[in-house]
Point group: C2
Chain length 144, copies 2
Amino acid sequence: MFSKTCEYAIRAVLFVAQKSKDGGKVGVKEIAKGIDSPEHFIAKILQDLCKRGLMQSLKGPNGGFYMAIDNLKFSIADVVKAIDGDKIFSGCGLGLKQCSETQPCPIHNEFKKIRKDIYTMLETAKLGAFNDELERSLSFLKRN
Amino acid sequence: MFSKTCEYAIRAVLFVAQKSKDGGKVGVKEIAKGIDSPEHFIAKILQDLCKRGLMQSLKGPNGGFYMAIDNLKFSIADVVKAIDGDKIFSGCGLGLKQCSETQPCPIHNEFKKIRKDIYTMLETAKLGAFNDELERSLSFLKRN
DNA sequence: TAGTTAAAAGAGTTTTTTATCTTTTATTTT
DNA sequence: AAAATAAAAGATAAAAAACTCTTTTAACTA
């Protein structure tokens, strides 16, 4: 569904949202451990997310990654768009560039509905909405 | 959503289903043109689909690929399973191996529904069901 | 049976994705 | 101001996916 990079990105964003919710910052090492991802690889991804304004970072001692209030309003859909683009939300299921209402692929209409459902679901899932269940270990971002 | 290989596979299967519906056979060249794919690459994919029993082939003059009546009963879901495996039908949206009812990722339940919808849709789409609309140019397998 | 046709099989190559390592820059602490 | 910390940036490496080319095998045709 998503690229591996994007899966890491989503997990990282939810992790940082939860860990930084009281104003703290989280280092790459802690993030990598917390979501079970390669450290340097997630660092690159986080850099990218910062550039795109989805989260914040600060260098130096006591630095790290964190989310401001505004960042928490972003949704998982925004993360997916930032990393994988919007192919999954608007592309043709069979990979046809010209696929459209007038020149549909055989499964065009069926896919339209599914894509819309995916988008709605991911757009509804705001980044700050999972803090509680993560903290209470009702859901997880890595194997335990 | 699907790998490029899988997109080609689905398009090829629908193409062959339509072209061979009156007992004829279709060569790789014609298939590659018909679905706008690299010739040698689609040849490999077709080989694979034949091995897995999703379609038939015959060597020699007047040979080519074709679908028997039994093959038409397969669904697009079967093609996807053959090429991409069932990750998309059963894997975790965030790539977590241990994700389950007891150890769910944050979007586990939402994804469950979407995965089910995808499966239902692809399982319902039988390979022989598109011949008519393809023949009447109501849907397409490449740019025109 | 020899020649021709078309898929199967095998062996590459290229491109993209995923991952690692090193150096630089910004920030803080002493 | 010097040392320490942590992210940013850049360069490289490994693995997987996408694609190509050549040789072999099976089936038909003359």
